[in-house]
């Protein structure tokens, strides 16, 4: 195994040359994205550097409590972020928070219980970040689809309720489609991994000098872990959030119906 390359701020600064290319393209094509590119570069630098210090602190302390607190913070921030993408779903924050917490806890506990990883912070922190991040994206897509479909299909839902269906029965086809839309992107990327693109973990390990087959094995574990976690987060978020569209008397709330009298 070769040694991981030494990366200093000089090398990071050199990489800004490619950002300059993006800015030049924006200017040339009058895309007016120069400011956005500048903000993205500045934010990524500040945010990742800050996270780097936090992670370094957590690694040095080697306290499981700190790891749990860090991952819980990610889940809260993730739920806030995903809530904005699921704006058409009333009260989406709590279903998202429960979904991310459950997905993160179940996945990490299972991996530790099966002996795949130890409870050392250097494993749990990056794994937790990946689980929460991917779970957030999947749950947000699923809830966004749920909200759009309920709003667009309110006549069909009410017609079904009028036939004596419960709220759960009336929304079941929409729930099914929403769950599929949350999980399918990761399934598709898992299908094409190694053929169309190299996933991040594997790239990181190869750059750090790991043997290719070792990198592949770890990447496979990560992919399978993420499939499980996005399934858990999508199904939890959708099942909890769908209730918010209905009253206990199986009525579609006003939020999903138009104002026609």
């Amino acid at each position: 195994m070769t040694r991981a390359p030494d990366i200093g701020f000089a090398q990071v600064g050199a990489a800004l040359g490619l950002v300059a290319v993006a800015v030049l393209v924006s200017l040339w094509q009058r895309m007016r994205l120069e400011n956005d590119i500048a903000v993205a570069v500045a934010r990524s630098f500040v945010q990742l550097t800050a996270v780097g210090f936090v992670i370094q602190l957590v690694f040095e302390q080697d306290e499981l409590g700190l790891v749990v607190a860090l991952i819980a913070g990610m889940a809260v921030f993730g739920a806030f972020t995903a809530r904005r993408r699921a704006a058409s779903v009333p009260g989406a924050f709590w279903p998202l928070l429960v979904a991310l917490t459950l997905a993160g806890t179940a996945t990490l506990v299972l991996l530790v219980a099966l002996g795949v990883f130890s409870t050392a912070p250097r494993y749990l922190v990056p794994l937790g970040g990946m689980v929460v991040g991917n779970s957030m994206t999947a749950a947000a897509v699923a809830l966004s689809r749920l909200g759009d479909e309920v709003t667009g299909s309110w006549r069909e839902i009410e017609a079904t309720l009028a036939l004596g269906a419960t709220a759960g029965q009336a929304i079941r086809p929409i729930v099914r489609r929403s769950l599929r839309s949350g999980v399918i992107p990761l399934i598709d990327s898992t299908k094409t991994t190694g053929v169309i693109f190299f996933p991040g973990t594997m790239v990181g390990l190869l750059l750090a000098g790991a043997a290719p087959l070792e990198a592949v094995r770890l990447q496979l574990i990560i992919l399978y872990m993420l499939l499980g976690s996005v399934a858990i987060s999508s199904v939890t978020a959708v099942i909890l959030a769908q209730r918010n569209f209905f009253t206990p008397a199986h009525q579609l709330r006003d939020v999903a119906t138009p104002t026609a009298a």
Binding site: R155, E156, E158, A159, T160, L161, A162, L163, G164, A165, T166, Q169, P173, T247, A249, H250, Q251, L252, D254, T257, P258, T259, A260, A261
Partner: protein
């Protein structure tokens, strides 16, 4: 045209289907029914009013698809909130405005409601009741004309074996000829199955043709003068048969 709508102070007798007392209801945060008191007896009653007058909201209150902000809605003398809401919706079946068919075959739509309580139905017979050939059972619900969809929705509601049919603008999307056919079907159903009908329409002539009593709604207020047994022409035997 006569009016049999009851306003304020009417009491529910044995033949009273629905009673609304000082009902206020909103849709989209806007109050659309203002202090409405009505009594709707068994038989065929039409709620007539212009678009936006609160007709559809009133109809949705009757099988508890919507909840009043205040006031009381009763069915056969009992407050709706004291009844099993799912059983109520099977007994008081709503035929909504188009489009509201479920994806799949016509037969799937007709069987849906009874299937929820583990009951099977004779799809062909129900389609026949609604004025469609039994061969329509296998048709794709997405490929029906508007008039055919309307009849499938009628068959789907009849599959519940309801005692009351709530009809929300049942012919608004139909041409004159199809409208006449649907109206004839409704009259026949009323006689053959002894169903009570509560029909919402903006078409006052249709109210005259189909209903024995008419409730007029204007800007969310019932403007009918009170309980009045004077029949519309539709309640006279010659027009029903």
């Amino acid at each position: 045209m006569g009016s049999a709508a009851a306003t304020g102070g009417a009491t529910a007798g044995p033949s009273m289907l629905f009673e609304l007392k000082r009902v206020r209801a909103s849709r989209g945060g806007v109050e659309v029914l203002h202090d409405v008191s009505l009594a709707l007896p068994e038989g065929a009653t039409c709620v007539a009013g212009r678009s936006g007058s609160g007709k559809s909201t009133l109809l949705r209150l009757l099988n508890r698809l919507a909840e009043p902000d205040s006031g009381r809605v009763a069915y056969r003398g009992r407050g709706l909130d004291s009844l099993d809401v799912l059983a109520l919706r099977r007994e008081v079946a709503l035929v909504p405005q188009l489009p509201a068919l479920l994806p799949g075959a016509v037969a799937d739509n007709v069987r849906f409601g009874p299937g929820l309580v583990g009951r099977d139905v004779d799809v062909g017979a129900l389609l026949d009741l609604a004025g469609l050939p039994a061969a329509f059972a296998d048709r794709d619900a997405d490929r029906l004309s508007t008039g055919e969809q309307q009849r499938v929705m009628l068959a789907r509601a009849l599959a519940l074996e309801p005692r009351v049919l709530l009809l929300d603008e049942p012919t608004s999307a139909l041409d004159e000829r199809t409208r006449d056919h649907v109206e004839e079907t409704l009259k026949e159903l009323r006689l053959r199955l002894r169903l009570s009908l509560v029909l919402v329409t903006h078409d006052f002539a249709q109210a005259e043709r189909l209903a024995e009593r008419v409730v007029r709604l204007e800007d969310g207020r019932a403007t009918s003068p009170g309980l009045d047994p004077e029949p519309t022409s539709a309640s006279r035997p010659s027009t029903v048969r």
